[in-house]
């Protein structure tokens, strides 16, 4: 069946009242789950899994998929409103989104976020439709050396996340890398730095850390201020201005490409492209000093990237039957329950599932846009709630959200500890974003580095003899050099100023 025939076929099966209903249920629950911090799609999907027994496999997948990409729409809400990342993929949105909210520009932030998510999601579905199979094969060509190189490239971009002192950012990066080593060593299984705590065996959880470093620390900082509400300025607009649109279109398009590409890599997801998008946008922007203070590009790019990423994750899933992350693994489970074997033959043997899901994503994204835009007015009003009432509510959502990840109260303790750490660090001018991304990238880098050496029997040549990894490493090297160079020039300038002062 050719592509347009398939799409029509899919649309025909989707445009039924009951399928549309399940799609709507899925995306609505997804949005809700995404808005609430900590609670992710996994919980809702597993509750609804038994409910899918009575319906056709295609409809079941449509609903579950809706929960997944719907969550990417809602995740930015708490990031922007109260600096609490809804999930890992929304951490970056906190950086500029929250600053925009404080300036009364939460409406445009939420609006661009929703539109960007829509564009990113829809463009990715188009790409999914046309190039799923060939792209899946490209993704397969990424093995341990390529992943290591890709992580190096991503790391070289991290320095752009920092607003202030690069030296401080580097310290934070190393701290983050060290925190990333906690847990079972991926290659030998040796438990590192876990001090007897079974919770730490899996490493320091990303969600507790993110919620603590960003959300709790923000609350701690605000207790001291006699502020009546989160807002520092009056609410200015509800809708994005023309200027906002103009500045966002580039980041949105770039974010779509980045997100989709990273999402389709095995082991890929929606988290990494958000950081990469932010760094890229900061690098390309004509006003990089605005980043971290409320630059709309810092919201547009990452929010688009995480939606494109979640859709990109369907590439290996639909084309090869390989789920690239634990959430899609649930979809695989759902297929298994219904007796459908997910594999490279899915497109031939079960076209109603393949095309049904793709068609439903178009519909789902439209539903999400219609759902989320009017909600913006509601969300903005939350900012007007007096802080002394808002704060307990925020804390409750943090506590429960953190617990919800693994039903483990120890993770709440981790969140609190990192809340304190985040508070102390922020007070002294350190940045938290480099810390978190280093925590995420570090273990991936290490595992792939060591696996590459196992594959090559200890030879380092494997990194340069393979074309993809060699190219990526070269690019990473260039970026390191260029940022090192500019840091050197900045330091030289400072030294000259100091010497000049002494005259």
């Amino acid at each position: 069946m050719d592509i347009f025939g398939g799409l029509l076929f899919g649309l025909k099966s989707v445009l039924h009242v009951d399928t549309l209903f399940y799609c709507f249920v899925g995306v609505t629950i997804g949005t809700l789950v995404g808005v609430l911090p900590g609670i992710g799609p996994i919980g809702a999907m597993s509750i609804l899994l038994p409910a899918t027994f009575g319906i056709s496999p295609a409809t079941a997948i449509i609903m579950l998929a809706g929960i997944y990409y719907g969550a990417m729409y809602g995740g930015s809400t708490t990031s922007i409103l109260v600096n609490i990342p809804g999930e890992a993929a929304s951490v970056v949105t906190c950086l500029d989104g929250y600053q925009m909210a404080k300036k009364g520009r939460a409406g445009p932030a939420l609006g661009i976020s929703a539109i960007g998510s829509f564009i990113g999601g829809t463009l990715s579905v188009v790409a999914l439709m046309f190039v799923a199979v060939p792209l899946a094969n490209v993704g397969l060509r990424f093995g341990p050396p390529e992943f290591f190189a890709l992580m190096c490239l991503s790391m070289s971009l991290i320095s752009y996340l920092a607003r202030g002192s690069t030296f401080n950012a580097v310290l934070m990066i190393f701290l983050g890398l060290i925190l990333g080593t906690v847990g079972m060593d991926p290659i030998t299984g040796f438990p590192r730095f876990y001090f007897g705590s079974t919770t730490l065996l899996d490493g320091i959880g990303l969600i507790p850390v993110a919620m603590g470093l960003f959300g709790i620390s923000e609350i701690l900082m605000n207790i001291e201020l006699k502020a009546r509400s989160v807002l520092e300025a009056k609410i200015r607009n509800i809708f994005p201005t023309l200027e906002d649109w103009r500045r966002s279109i580039g980041p949105i398009l770039r974010g779509s490409v980045l997100g989709f590409f990273f999402g389709l890599l095995p082991g890929g997801g929606a988290v990494i492209p958000t950081f990469v998008s932010y760094s890229v946008e900061k690098r390309l922007s004509k006003h990089p000093e605005e980043f971290g203070k409320g630059a709309i590009e810092g919201v547009a790019g990452p929010e688009t990237a995480n939606n494109a990423g979640s859709t990109g994750a369907f590439v290996p899933m639909l084309a090869l039957g390989i789920p690239p992350n634990p959430i899609l693994a649930i979809l695989l489970g759902a297929l298994m329950i219904h007796g459908v074997q997910a594999g490279p033959l899915l497109m031939q043997k079960n076209p109603e599932i393949f095309w049904g899901v793709i068609a439903s994503m178009y519909v789902g994204n439209i539903m999400l846009l219609i759902l989320n835009l009017p909600l913006i007015g509601l969300w903005i009003r939350i900012l007007k709630i007096p802080y002394r009432l808002l704060m307990p509510l925020i804390l409750l959502f943090c506590l429960v959200g953190c617990y919800a990840v693994n039903s483990n109260p120890t993770e709440i303790v981790i969140m609190i500890v990192f809340g304190f750490i985040g508070y102390v660090l922020r007070r002294c001018g350190y940045e938290l974003a480099p810390l978190i991304i280093a925590m995420i990238l570090g273990p991936i880098m290490e595992a792939n580095f060591r696996n590459s050496l196992i594959m090559s029997d200890g030879s380092f040549r494997i990194f340069v003899t393979r074309p993809i990894s060699a190219t990526l490493l070269f690019a990473a090297g260039l970026l390191f050099l260029s940022s090192g160079f500019s840091a050197y020039r900045k330091a030289k300038k400072r030294v000259i100023e100091l010497v000049g002062d002494e005259d």
């Binding site: 397969l140 093995g143 341990p144 039957g321």
Partner: protein
Amino acid sequence: MDRRKILFFIVLILLPFAFQGFSAEKFPSKPVTIVVPFPPGGVSGITAMTWGKYMEKHLGVPVVVDYKPGGGTVIGTQYVANAAPDGYVLLNAGDIFTSILVGTAPYKLEDLTIVAQVTLNGNVLAVRSDAPWKNFQEFVDYARKNPGVKYAHPGIGTWVFFRTESLNRQAKLGMVNVPMKGDAEAVSALLGGHVPVAAGSTYVYKAQQEAGKVKTLLSFDKAEGYGLDPTIPDIESFFKGSVYDIVCSIYLYAPAKTPKERIEILRNAIEKATKEPGFAEDMKKIGHRVAYMPGEKVMREVLPKKIEIVKGIMKDTGMIK
């Protein structure tokens, strides 16, 4: 006035608690929980759900699944090991002694008792369809002549790894393991040409084989039990006893102090469940083979040999001293 109100509220709050105190003479009289030490949606969850579905008929109460992921399988296992030994909390897991040996588990083997071995998870050794080896014999010959063949597997703590390493050492294949994160990464590494060979769950590679992307060279235990092509060799038939295969068992556990009569009731229920016609079919769909064995037999005959082999592997790889 105030005091009475307070008293009233206290009674109100304590009421549901009081009702729970009614201990039932008949077992079971309330829902039974099967704990799954993995995140929801995986094969383990589906296994537990299926077991529960069939056990309900023979127990007369609902059977629910509770997910407690983390630490490998440590968190969920710890939860059951510490749970009230009243027969209402059970565990669906494979062999748990690996974490105990490494020292990351805060419980001992004696804290849990195996009610029964219910199913076996199928594992295979696969290569790409364009690989130079047409069958397992050719591969074995090649591997022995060229030590250092890399194989991908889902991770160091997984049973697949131990099973493949056990084969590797006993059959002297000289392979080197490349740990991946789960079956998904392992099969991707194989398909992408980064490793020549991969070991993993049957149902994953079966799907790829049907699409013509991989060749299954070996099924660790009987191929046809998993719906695979019966000409695919298994360890038993290929090595004729010189290699002992440590099967990937999935057991039903209960806290060790659970009264024997209750364990017997549960064991009976799961035994009857496995004999139901739909059960084997449902298990086959997810790559499992029904292989019921009462817990006592497992602990006497199968477990010691498994522990011995795995301990050896762990010592060699440096996982334990």
